[in-house]
Protein backbone atom coordinates (compact mmCIF):
# COMPACT_ATOMS: atom_id res chain seq x y z
CA UNK A 1 0.00 0.00 0.00
CA UNK A 2 1.13 3.52 -0.72
CA UNK A 3 0.00 6.52 1.30
CA UNK A 4 -0.61 9.52 -0.87
CA UNK A 5 -1.50 12.75 0.99
CA UNK A 6 -3.51 10.80 3.56
CA UNK A 7 -5.07 8.49 0.96
CA UNK A 8 -3.98 4.89 0.84
CA UNK A 9 -3.79 3.24 -2.55
CA UNK A 10 -2.37 -0.04 -3.73
CA UNK A 11 1.09 -0.16 -5.27
CA UNK A 12 -0.43 -1.25 -8.57
CA UNK A 13 -2.80 1.69 -8.51
CA UNK A 14 0.08 4.00 -7.65
CA UNK A 15 2.12 2.59 -10.50
CA UNK A 16 -0.86 3.04 -12.85
CA UNK A 17 -1.26 6.66 -11.66
CA UNK A 18 2.42 7.38 -12.25
CA UNK A 19 2.37 5.80 -15.70
CA UNK A 20 -0.87 7.53 -16.71
CA UNK A 21 0.46 10.79 -15.29
CA UNK A 22 3.66 10.46 -17.33
CA UNK A 23 1.73 9.55 -20.47
CA UNK A 24 -0.73 12.45 -20.05
CA UNK A 25 2.06 14.88 -19.13
CA UNK A 26 4.13 13.72 -22.10
CA UNK A 27 1.12 14.14 -24.37
CA UNK A 28 0.49 17.58 -22.94
CA UNK A 29 4.17 18.49 -23.33
CA UNK A 30 4.05 17.36 -26.94
CA UNK A 31 0.75 18.97 -27.88
CA UNK A 32 0.70 22.07 -25.71
CA UNK A 33 4.37 23.02 -25.80
CA UNK A 34 6.67 21.13 -28.13
CA UNK A 35 4.59 21.23 -31.32
CA UNK A 36 3.56 24.90 -30.99
CA UNK A 37 7.13 25.89 -30.14
CA UNK A 38 8.55 24.08 -33.16
CA UNK A 39 5.68 24.34 -35.61
CA UNK A 40 7.52 26.56 -38.07
CA UNK A 41 10.48 24.17 -38.06
CA UNK A 42 8.21 21.17 -38.66
CA UNK A 43 6.41 22.87 -41.52
CA UNK A 44 9.71 23.82 -43.13
CA UNK A 45 11.02 20.28 -42.74
CA UNK A 46 7.94 18.29 -43.68
CA UNK A 47 6.13 20.69 -45.99
CA UNK A 48 8.86 22.67 -47.74
CA UNK A 49 6.35 23.91 -50.34
CA UNK A 50 4.21 25.61 -47.71
CA UNK A 51 3.55 29.20 -48.71
CA UNK A 52 5.97 31.62 -47.13
CA UNK A 53 3.19 33.98 -45.98
CA UNK A 54 1.74 31.13 -43.89
CA UNK A 55 5.13 30.57 -42.26
CA UNK A 56 5.55 34.26 -41.68
CA UNK A 57 2.17 34.37 -39.94
CA UNK A 58 3.06 31.66 -37.41
CA UNK A 59 5.04 33.82 -34.97
CA UNK A 60 2.02 36.12 -34.79
CA UNK A 61 -0.30 33.23 -34.04
CA UNK A 62 1.90 31.29 -31.61
CA UNK A 63 3.35 33.73 -29.15
CA UNK A 64 5.74 32.98 -26.27
CA UNK A 65 2.91 33.07 -23.69
CA UNK A 66 1.38 29.95 -25.24
CA UNK A 67 4.64 28.09 -24.78
CA UNK A 68 5.08 29.23 -21.16
CA UNK A 69 1.51 28.35 -20.19
CA UNK A 70 1.75 25.08 -22.13
CA UNK A 71 4.89 24.16 -20.24
CA UNK A 72 3.29 25.11 -16.93
CA UNK A 73 0.35 22.80 -17.67
CA UNK A 74 2.61 19.71 -17.97
CA UNK A 75 3.44 19.19 -14.23
CA UNK A 76 -0.10 20.15 -13.22
CA UNK A 77 -1.54 17.46 -15.52
CA UNK A 78 0.94 14.95 -14.10
CA UNK A 79 0.00 15.87 -10.52
CA UNK A 80 -3.73 15.74 -11.33
CA UNK A 81 -3.31 12.18 -12.63
CA UNK A 82 -1.18 11.21 -9.64
CA UNK A 83 -3.16 12.87 -6.87
CA UNK A 84 -6.66 12.14 -8.14
CA UNK A 85 -8.96 11.63 -5.14
CA UNK A 86 -6.62 13.24 -2.64
CA UNK A 87 -7.08 16.53 -0.80
CA UNK A 88 -4.87 18.24 -3.35
CA UNK A 89 -6.99 17.16 -6.33
CA UNK A 90 -9.54 19.96 -5.85
CA UNK A 91 -7.00 22.82 -5.79
CA UNK A 92 -5.03 21.11 -8.58
CA UNK A 93 -8.19 20.97 -10.70
CA UNK A 94 -8.69 24.70 -10.07
CA UNK A 95 -5.09 25.40 -11.13
CA UNK A 96 -5.46 23.11 -14.15
CA UNK A 97 -8.68 24.87 -15.17
CA UNK A 98 -7.18 28.33 -14.76
CA UNK A 99 -4.06 27.39 -16.71
CA UNK A 100 -6.20 25.75 -19.40
CA UNK A 101 -8.31 28.90 -19.63
CA UNK A 102 -5.15 30.98 -19.89
CA UNK A 103 -3.82 28.65 -22.59
CA UNK A 104 -7.05 28.83 -24.59
CA UNK A 105 -7.17 32.60 -24.17
CA UNK A 106 -3.58 32.80 -25.44
CA UNK A 107 -4.21 30.46 -28.36
CA UNK A 108 -7.16 32.59 -29.46
CA UNK A 109 -5.31 35.84 -28.70
CA UNK A 110 -8.21 36.99 -26.59
CA UNK A 111 -10.66 36.23 -29.38
CA UNK A 112 -9.15 38.13 -32.30
CA UNK A 113 -6.06 36.81 -33.98
CA UNK A 114 -4.41 39.48 -36.07
CA UNK A 115 -1.22 39.57 -38.06
CA UNK A 116 0.58 41.96 -40.34
CA UNK A 117 2.67 40.71 -43.21
CA UNK A 118 4.73 43.15 -45.20
CA UNK A 119 6.37 43.00 -48.60
CA UNK A 120 4.52 39.98 -49.90
CA UNK A 121 5.46 39.37 -53.55
CA UNK A 122 2.52 39.82 -55.91
CA UNK A 123 4.34 39.18 -59.18
CA UNK A 124 5.76 41.66 -61.68
CA UNK A 125 7.95 42.99 -58.88
CA UNK A 126 4.95 44.27 -56.93
CA UNK A 127 4.83 43.94 -53.16
CA UNK A 128 1.84 44.00 -50.89
CA UNK A 129 1.18 44.40 -47.20
CA UNK A 130 -1.45 42.14 -45.69
CA UNK A 131 -3.24 42.78 -42.45
CA UNK A 132 -5.49 39.96 -41.40
CA UNK A 133 -7.76 39.72 -38.37
CA UNK A 134 -9.73 36.60 -37.48
CA UNK A 135 -12.44 37.07 -34.92
CA UNK A 136 -12.84 33.76 -33.09
CA UNK A 137 -14.46 35.07 -29.93
CA UNK A 138 -17.37 32.63 -29.97
CA UNK A 139 -15.08 29.73 -30.75
CA UNK A 140 -12.88 30.75 -27.81
CA UNK A 141 -15.93 30.90 -25.58
CA UNK A 142 -16.91 27.40 -26.70
CA UNK A 143 -13.47 26.15 -25.62
CA UNK A 144 -13.53 28.13 -22.38
CA UNK A 145 -16.80 26.59 -21.17
CA UNK A 146 -15.17 23.22 -20.19
CA UNK A 147 -12.43 25.08 -18.27
CA UNK A 148 -15.09 27.05 -16.37
CA UNK A 149 -16.85 23.78 -15.60
CA UNK A 150 -13.46 22.38 -14.49
CA UNK A 151 -13.04 25.37 -12.20
CA UNK A 152 -16.47 24.71 -10.66
CA UNK A 153 -15.54 21.07 -10.29
CA UNK A 154 -12.29 22.05 -8.54
CA UNK A 155 -14.17 24.33 -6.14
CA UNK A 156 -16.69 21.58 -5.40
CA UNK A 157 -13.90 19.08 -4.80
CA UNK A 158 -12.00 21.48 -2.55
CA UNK A 159 -15.11 22.23 -0.52
CA UNK A 160 -15.91 18.49 -0.29
CA UNK A 161 -12.44 17.62 1.00
CA UNK A 162 -12.47 20.56 3.38
Amino acid sequence: MVKLLGMEISSASFAFRVISGVVLASGAFLILYFIPANLARFITAYAPDAPQPALALLPSFIGPIIQVVGLALVPVIFLCALLRGTKAYGPLTIVLSLLSAAYIYSVFHGGVISALLTDLPLGDGMLADLHIAIDLTWMMIAFLVPTILGLIKGVVLTLKKG
Partner: protein, 386 residues
Protein backbone atom coordinates in the same frame (compact mmCIF):
# COMPACT_ATOMS: atom_id res chain seq x y z
CA UNK B 1 -24.22 12.12 -2.30
CA UNK B 2 -25.52 15.32 -3.82
CA UNK B 3 -21.96 16.45 -4.38
CA UNK B 4 -21.13 13.20 -6.13
CA UNK B 5 -24.11 13.73 -8.46
CA UNK B 6 -23.02 17.31 -9.02
CA UNK B 7 -19.49 16.17 -9.79
CA UNK B 8 -20.76 13.48 -12.15
CA UNK B 9 -22.93 16.08 -13.88
CA UNK B 10 -20.02 18.50 -14.15
CA UNK B 11 -17.79 15.75 -15.53
CA UNK B 12 -20.45 14.86 -18.09
CA UNK B 13 -20.87 18.49 -19.09
CA UNK B 14 -17.12 18.91 -19.42
CA UNK B 15 -16.97 15.91 -21.75
CA UNK B 16 -19.96 17.19 -23.76
CA UNK B 17 -18.56 20.70 -24.08
CA UNK B 18 -15.08 19.52 -24.98
CA UNK B 19 -16.54 17.31 -27.70
CA UNK B 20 -18.81 20.18 -28.81
CA UNK B 21 -15.94 22.70 -28.89
CA UNK B 22 -13.71 20.43 -30.95
CA UNK B 23 -16.66 19.48 -33.12
CA UNK B 24 -17.44 23.13 -33.82
CA UNK B 25 -13.76 23.85 -34.49
CA UNK B 26 -13.51 20.95 -36.90
CA UNK B 27 -16.76 21.88 -38.64
CA UNK B 28 -15.82 25.55 -39.01
CA UNK B 29 -12.29 24.73 -40.16
CA UNK B 30 -13.53 22.20 -42.72
CA UNK B 31 -16.17 24.68 -43.89
CA UNK B 32 -13.69 27.54 -44.14
CA UNK B 33 -10.97 25.54 -45.89
CA UNK B 34 -13.48 23.95 -48.25
CA UNK B 35 -14.81 27.36 -49.25
CA UNK B 36 -11.36 28.95 -49.39
CA UNK B 37 -9.95 26.24 -51.67
CA UNK B 38 -12.91 26.54 -54.02
CA UNK B 39 -12.33 30.23 -54.73
CA UNK B 40 -11.50 30.79 -58.38
CA UNK B 41 -10.96 34.20 -59.88
CA UNK B 42 -11.35 34.79 -63.60
CA UNK B 43 -9.61 37.22 -65.89
CA UNK B 44 -10.35 40.79 -64.85
CA UNK B 45 -12.79 42.40 -67.25
CA UNK B 46 -12.31 45.95 -68.45
CA UNK B 47 -15.06 48.11 -69.79
CA UNK B 48 -15.16 51.83 -70.41
CA UNK B 49 -18.18 53.84 -71.25
CA UNK B 50 -17.72 57.57 -71.47
CA UNK B 51 -16.05 58.80 -68.30
CA UNK B 52 -16.83 55.60 -66.43
CA UNK B 53 -14.16 52.95 -66.40
CA UNK B 54 -15.10 49.63 -64.87
CA UNK B 55 -12.94 46.72 -63.85
CA UNK B 56 -14.61 43.63 -62.61
CA UNK B 57 -13.14 40.44 -61.27
CA UNK B 58 -15.34 37.37 -61.71
CA UNK B 59 -15.19 35.09 -58.69
CA UNK B 60 -16.62 31.63 -58.28
CA UNK B 61 -17.02 29.98 -54.90
CA UNK B 62 -18.43 26.73 -53.55
CA UNK B 63 -19.46 25.98 -50.01
CA UNK B 64 -19.21 22.25 -49.31
CA UNK B 65 -19.74 22.72 -45.56
CA UNK B 66 -22.92 22.79 -43.50
CA UNK B 67 -22.55 26.45 -42.42
CA UNK B 68 -23.22 29.47 -44.58
CA UNK B 69 -20.29 31.64 -45.56
CA UNK B 70 -21.90 34.99 -44.99
CA UNK B 71 -21.35 38.64 -45.76
CA UNK B 72 -18.48 38.27 -48.18
CA UNK B 73 -17.62 41.81 -49.14
CA UNK B 74 -14.77 43.65 -50.71
CA UNK B 75 -13.96 47.32 -50.74
CA UNK B 76 -11.27 48.50 -53.07
CA UNK B 77 -9.76 51.94 -52.72
CA UNK B 78 -7.42 53.42 -55.27
CA UNK B 79 -5.32 56.46 -54.49
CA UNK B 80 -3.41 58.51 -57.01
CA UNK B 81 0.20 59.56 -56.96
CA UNK B 82 -0.69 62.66 -54.96
CA UNK B 83 -2.53 60.59 -52.34
CA UNK B 84 -5.96 61.73 -53.49
CA UNK B 85 -8.63 59.05 -53.59
CA UNK B 86 -9.40 58.17 -57.18
CA UNK B 87 -11.97 55.48 -56.61
CA UNK B 88 -13.72 53.67 -53.82
CA UNK B 89 -15.58 50.60 -54.88
CA UNK B 90 -17.53 48.72 -52.26
CA UNK B 91 -19.07 45.48 -53.41
CA UNK B 92 -22.49 44.38 -52.22
CA UNK B 93 -22.24 41.70 -49.51
CA UNK B 94 -22.66 38.17 -50.84
CA UNK B 95 -23.57 35.08 -48.86
CA UNK B 96 -22.91 31.56 -50.01
CA UNK B 97 -25.46 29.13 -48.55
CA UNK B 98 -24.46 25.66 -47.34
CA UNK B 99 -23.96 23.22 -50.17
CA UNK B 100 -23.77 25.90 -52.86
CA UNK B 101 -21.68 24.85 -55.83
CA UNK B 102 -19.78 27.09 -58.16
CA UNK B 103 -21.61 30.24 -57.17
CA UNK B 104 -20.50 33.07 -59.43
CA UNK B 105 -20.44 36.75 -58.74
CA UNK B 106 -18.47 39.77 -59.83
CA UNK B 107 -16.60 42.28 -57.79
CA UNK B 108 -16.78 45.54 -59.71
CA UNK B 109 -14.39 48.44 -59.35
CA UNK B 110 -15.84 51.53 -60.97
CA UNK B 111 -13.78 54.62 -61.64
CA UNK B 112 -15.71 57.66 -62.73
CA UNK B 113 -13.21 60.03 -64.28
CA UNK B 114 -15.61 62.93 -63.81
CA UNK B 115 -15.44 62.50 -60.04
CA UNK B 116 -11.66 62.59 -59.79
CA UNK B 117 -10.22 65.93 -58.67
CA UNK B 118 -8.79 67.83 -61.63
CA UNK B 119 -5.21 67.90 -60.38
CA UNK B 120 -5.20 64.17 -59.71
CA UNK B 121 -6.70 63.48 -63.11
CA UNK B 122 -4.08 65.61 -64.79
CA UNK B 123 -1.32 63.71 -62.98
CA UNK B 124 -2.93 60.40 -63.80
CA UNK B 125 -3.25 61.45 -67.38
CA UNK B 126 0.39 62.19 -68.03
CA UNK B 127 2.62 60.94 -65.25
CA UNK B 128 3.78 57.44 -64.65
CA UNK B 129 4.10 56.40 -61.04
CA UNK B 130 2.56 54.14 -58.47
CA UNK B 131 -1.07 53.97 -57.53
CA UNK B 132 -1.88 52.86 -54.05
CA UNK B 133 -4.46 50.10 -54.07
CA UNK B 134 -6.04 48.88 -50.88
CA UNK B 135 -8.49 46.02 -50.80
CA UNK B 136 -10.45 45.35 -47.63
CA UNK B 137 -12.12 41.97 -47.53
CA UNK B 138 -14.54 40.57 -45.02
CA UNK B 139 -16.22 37.19 -44.66
CA UNK B 140 -17.58 35.07 -41.87
CA UNK B 141 -19.04 31.79 -40.78
CA UNK B 142 -21.54 33.10 -38.29
CA UNK B 143 -21.21 33.23 -35.39
CA UNK B 144 -17.91 31.46 -34.94
CA UNK B 145 -15.49 33.11 -37.35
CA UNK B 146 -15.26 36.54 -38.85
CA UNK B 147 -12.25 37.29 -41.01
CA UNK B 148 -11.23 40.75 -42.09
CA UNK B 149 -8.22 41.21 -44.29
CA UNK B 150 -6.67 44.28 -45.78
CA UNK B 151 -4.19 44.13 -48.62
CA UNK B 152 -2.39 47.23 -49.72
CA UNK B 153 -0.03 47.41 -52.63
CA UNK B 154 1.64 49.90 -54.90
CA UNK B 155 0.62 49.26 -58.48
CA UNK B 156 2.65 50.80 -61.27
CA UNK B 157 0.64 53.14 -63.46
CA UNK B 158 1.35 53.75 -67.11
CA UNK B 159 -0.29 56.96 -68.23
CA UNK B 160 -2.48 56.98 -71.32
CA UNK B 161 -0.63 60.05 -72.58
CA UNK B 162 3.10 59.86 -72.24
CA UNK B 163 5.68 62.16 -73.80
CA UNK B 164 3.10 64.67 -74.93
CA UNK B 165 4.88 66.82 -77.49
CA UNK B 166 3.34 70.08 -78.63
CA UNK B 167 5.38 71.53 -81.45
CA UNK B 168 5.72 75.00 -82.84
CA UNK B 169 2.91 76.40 -84.96
CA UNK B 170 3.34 76.01 -88.71
CA UNK B 171 1.73 78.54 -91.01
CA UNK B 172 -0.81 77.03 -93.38
CA UNK B 173 -2.50 79.87 -95.16
CA UNK B 174 -4.48 83.04 -94.85
CA UNK B 175 -7.41 84.97 -96.13
CA UNK B 176 -8.47 88.53 -95.65
CA UNK B 177 -9.60 87.93 -92.10
CA UNK B 178 -7.70 84.97 -90.71
CA UNK B 179 -4.38 83.25 -90.58
CA UNK B 180 -4.51 79.49 -90.32
CA UNK B 181 -1.78 77.40 -88.78
CA UNK B 182 -1.27 74.01 -87.25
CA UNK B 183 0.45 72.69 -84.15
CA UNK B 184 1.93 69.20 -84.35
CA UNK B 185 0.84 67.05 -81.41
CA UNK B 186 2.20 63.64 -80.56
CA UNK B 187 2.20 61.27 -77.63
CA UNK B 188 2.39 57.60 -76.80
CA UNK B 189 -0.46 55.77 -75.16
CA UNK B 190 1.32 53.46 -72.74
CA UNK B 191 -1.80 52.74 -70.71
CA UNK B 192 -4.48 50.12 -71.00
CA UNK B 193 -7.19 52.60 -71.94
CA UNK B 194 -8.30 53.78 -75.34
CA UNK B 195 -7.60 57.49 -75.49
CA UNK B 196 -10.70 58.82 -77.16
CA UNK B 197 -11.04 62.56 -76.99
CA UNK B 198 -10.00 65.79 -78.55
CA UNK B 199 -7.42 68.45 -78.26
CA UNK B 200 -8.51 72.00 -78.72
CA UNK B 201 -7.05 75.43 -78.71
CA UNK B 202 -8.85 78.60 -77.76
CA UNK B 203 -7.19 81.86 -78.68
CA UNK B 204 -7.97 85.10 -76.93
CA UNK B 205 -6.66 88.56 -77.63
CA UNK B 206 -4.21 89.17 -74.80
CA UNK B 207 -5.18 92.80 -74.43
CA UNK B 208 -8.94 92.77 -74.82
CA UNK B 209 -9.71 89.19 -73.93
CA UNK B 210 -11.87 88.93 -77.01
CA UNK B 211 -11.99 85.59 -78.81
CA UNK B 212 -9.49 85.61 -81.64
CA UNK B 213 -9.55 82.06 -82.90
CA UNK B 214 -9.99 78.39 -82.19
CA UNK B 215 -9.13 74.95 -83.46
CA UNK B 216 -9.58 71.30 -82.60
CA UNK B 217 -8.12 67.91 -83.26
CA UNK B 218 -9.90 64.61 -82.73
CA UNK B 219 -7.80 62.03 -80.95
CA UNK B 220 -8.14 58.28 -80.92
CA UNK B 221 -5.23 56.21 -79.66
CA UNK B 222 -5.59 52.52 -78.81
CA UNK B 223 -3.47 51.15 -75.95
CA UNK B 224 0.24 50.83 -76.64
CA UNK B 225 0.13 53.01 -79.72
CA UNK B 226 1.70 56.21 -80.91
CA UNK B 227 -0.45 59.14 -81.86
CA UNK B 228 0.48 62.12 -83.95
CA UNK B 229 -1.68 64.73 -85.57
CA UNK B 230 -1.95 68.37 -86.44
CA UNK B 231 -4.13 70.69 -84.46
CA UNK B 232 -5.33 73.18 -87.06
CA UNK B 233 -6.50 76.55 -85.90
CA UNK B 234 -7.37 79.97 -87.30
CA UNK B 235 -6.40 83.33 -85.84
CA UNK B 236 -8.38 86.42 -86.68
CA UNK B 237 -6.36 89.24 -88.25
CA UNK B 238 -6.87 92.96 -87.61
CA UNK B 239 -9.31 94.58 -90.03
CA UNK B 240 -7.03 97.47 -90.92
CA UNK B 241 -5.66 96.44 -94.34
CA UNK B 242 -3.31 99.41 -94.61
CA UNK B 243 -1.70 98.46 -91.33
CA UNK B 244 -1.39 94.80 -92.40
CA UNK B 245 0.30 95.86 -95.62
CA UNK B 246 2.58 98.59 -94.42
CA UNK B 247 3.23 98.15 -90.69
CA UNK B 248 5.23 95.76 -88.57
CA UNK B 249 2.99 94.56 -85.75
CA UNK B 250 2.99 92.16 -82.85
CA UNK B 251 -0.24 90.25 -82.30
CA UNK B 252 -0.47 89.23 -78.67
CA UNK B 253 -2.65 86.26 -77.88
CA UNK B 254 -3.29 83.83 -75.06
CA UNK B 255 -3.41 80.26 -76.33
CA UNK B 256 -5.32 77.83 -74.10
CA UNK B 257 -4.56 74.29 -75.05
CA UNK B 258 -6.95 71.70 -73.65
CA UNK B 259 -7.16 67.93 -73.79
CA UNK B 260 -10.54 66.32 -73.37
CA UNK B 261 -10.87 62.63 -72.63
CA UNK B 262 -14.34 61.18 -72.84
CA UNK B 263 -15.65 64.73 -72.71
CA UNK B 264 -13.74 65.61 -69.55
CA UNK B 265 -10.94 68.12 -69.58
CA UNK B 266 -7.89 66.32 -68.28
CA UNK B 267 -5.25 68.79 -69.28
CA UNK B 268 -5.29 72.52 -69.83
CA UNK B 269 -2.50 74.98 -70.23
CA UNK B 270 -2.53 78.63 -71.16
CA UNK B 271 0.48 80.19 -72.79
CA UNK B 272 0.96 83.74 -74.08
CA UNK B 273 1.88 83.63 -77.75
CA UNK B 274 3.18 86.58 -79.72
CA UNK B 275 2.95 86.49 -83.48
CA UNK B 276 5.29 88.90 -85.15
CA UNK B 277 3.66 90.30 -88.24
CA UNK B 278 6.08 91.88 -90.67
CA UNK B 279 4.81 94.49 -93.09
CA UNK B 280 4.03 93.05 -96.50
CA UNK B 281 5.35 96.28 -97.95
CA UNK B 282 8.33 97.38 -95.98
CA UNK B 283 10.80 100.12 -96.89
CA UNK B 284 8.96 101.08 -100.07
CA UNK B 285 10.71 103.37 -102.47
CA UNK B 286 9.65 105.27 -105.54
CA UNK B 287 12.62 106.47 -107.52
CA UNK B 288 13.00 109.46 -109.81
CA UNK B 289 11.30 108.78 -113.14
CA UNK B 290 13.13 108.40 -116.40
CA UNK B 291 11.41 110.73 -118.89
CA UNK B 292 11.12 109.90 -122.55
CA UNK B 293 8.87 111.26 -125.29
CA UNK B 294 5.87 109.13 -126.07
CA UNK B 295 4.23 111.15 -128.85
CA UNK B 296 3.62 114.81 -129.64
CA UNK B 297 1.45 115.45 -126.58
CA UNK B 298 2.49 112.78 -124.07
CA UNK B 299 5.68 111.80 -122.38
CA UNK B 300 6.55 108.52 -120.69
CA UNK B 301 7.60 108.53 -117.04
CA UNK B 302 9.23 105.26 -115.89
CA UNK B 303 9.27 105.05 -112.09
CA UNK B 304 11.53 102.52 -110.41
CA UNK B 305 9.52 101.11 -107.55
CA UNK B 306 10.40 98.52 -104.95
CA UNK B 307 9.81 97.23 -101.43
CA UNK B 308 10.61 94.35 -99.11
CA UNK B 309 8.13 91.76 -97.97
CA UNK B 310 9.09 91.54 -94.29
CA UNK B 311 6.34 89.08 -93.47
CA UNK B 312 7.39 85.58 -92.46
CA UNK B 313 4.21 83.87 -93.61
CA UNK B 314 2.50 85.61 -96.47
CA UNK B 315 3.49 85.73 -100.12
CA UNK B 316 2.33 88.94 -101.62
CA UNK B 317 0.73 88.43 -105.03
CA UNK B 318 -0.93 91.42 -106.58
CA UNK B 319 -0.42 94.43 -108.74
CA UNK B 320 0.73 97.97 -108.36
CA UNK B 321 -0.52 100.98 -110.25
CA UNK B 322 0.64 104.58 -110.14
CA UNK B 323 -1.66 107.46 -110.90
CA UNK B 324 -0.77 111.14 -111.25
CA UNK B 325 -3.28 113.43 -109.60
CA UNK B 326 -3.11 117.14 -110.18
CA UNK B 327 -5.68 119.46 -108.66
CA UNK B 328 -7.73 116.43 -107.62
CA UNK B 329 -7.90 115.28 -111.23
CA UNK B 330 -6.31 112.01 -112.31
CA UNK B 331 -4.35 113.02 -115.34
CA UNK B 332 -2.57 109.73 -115.93
CA UNK B 333 -2.67 106.17 -114.65
CA UNK B 334 -0.29 103.32 -115.31
CA UNK B 335 -1.24 99.84 -116.34
CA UNK B 336 -1.16 97.40 -113.38
CA UNK B 337 2.22 95.79 -112.90
CA UNK B 338 2.04 92.30 -111.49
CA UNK B 339 4.19 91.67 -108.44
CA UNK B 340 5.13 88.48 -106.65
CA UNK B 341 6.92 88.77 -103.31
CA UNK B 342 7.55 85.62 -101.26
CA UNK B 343 8.11 86.04 -97.51
CA UNK B 344 11.30 87.88 -96.60
CA UNK B 345 12.08 88.89 -100.14
CA UNK B 346 12.64 92.12 -102.03
CA UNK B 347 10.77 93.30 -105.12
CA UNK B 348 11.81 95.94 -107.57
CA UNK B 349 10.04 96.78 -110.77
CA UNK B 350 9.22 99.69 -113.01
CA UNK B 351 5.92 101.39 -113.55
CA UNK B 352 5.46 103.41 -116.69
CA UNK B 353 3.08 106.32 -116.85
CA UNK B 354 2.07 108.30 -119.92
CA UNK B 355 1.46 111.86 -118.86
CA UNK B 356 0.52 114.96 -120.84
CA UNK B 357 3.58 117.06 -121.49
CA UNK B 358 2.06 120.00 -119.65
CA UNK B 359 1.96 117.84 -116.54
CA UNK B 360 5.70 117.49 -116.57
CA UNK B 361 6.03 120.92 -115.12
CA UNK B 362 2.98 120.81 -112.84
CA UNK B 363 2.76 119.82 -109.18
CA UNK B 364 0.48 117.15 -107.75
CA UNK B 365 0.50 113.76 -106.09
CA UNK B 366 1.49 110.35 -107.22
CA UNK B 367 -0.93 107.79 -105.86
CA UNK B 368 0.65 104.34 -105.61
CA UNK B 369 -2.02 101.68 -105.23
CA UNK B 370 -1.23 98.14 -104.18
CA UNK B 371 -3.92 95.58 -104.77
CA UNK B 372 -3.87 91.95 -103.74
CA UNK B 373 -6.72 89.49 -103.90
CA UNK B 374 -7.40 90.24 -100.26
CA UNK B 375 -6.27 93.71 -99.44
CA UNK B 376 -5.86 96.97 -101.20
CA UNK B 377 -4.12 100.15 -100.03
CA UNK B 378 -2.75 103.37 -101.47
CA UNK B 379 0.09 105.70 -100.69
CA UNK B 380 0.35 109.28 -101.84
CA UNK B 381 3.70 110.75 -102.77
CA UNK B 382 4.14 114.46 -103.66
CA UNK B 383 4.94 115.02 -107.30
CA UNK B 384 6.81 118.09 -108.34
CA UNK B 385 8.69 117.24 -111.47
CA UNK B 386 9.27 120.74 -112.59
Amino acid sequence: MKRSIALALINSLIVVFVIAAFGIAFLVAANAFGAAYSIRTGEPLFNSSGPVVQFSVPVSLSNPGPLAVSDISLTATVRGMDGETIAVAPSAPVSVPPGAEDMRFEIPLIINLSEIPGQSLSLLFQESGNLSVEVDAEAGIAPFVRITASVSAEVPWSPPVQDLQIGDPAFLGYNSTHLSASIPVSFRNTGEFVVDGSMNVTILDAETGAPAGAGALGIYAPPQSDFSGDLVFAVRLPENATALLFEDMTFRYNFTLGFDLYGIEVFSETEPVDIEWGALVSNPYLGSPAVSPHNLTFASLAFPIGFENANDFVTLDGSVTVALVINDQTVAESSPVYIHAPPDSSVSTEVVLQVPKWALVASGNLVVTLSTGLWSASLEVPYNHG
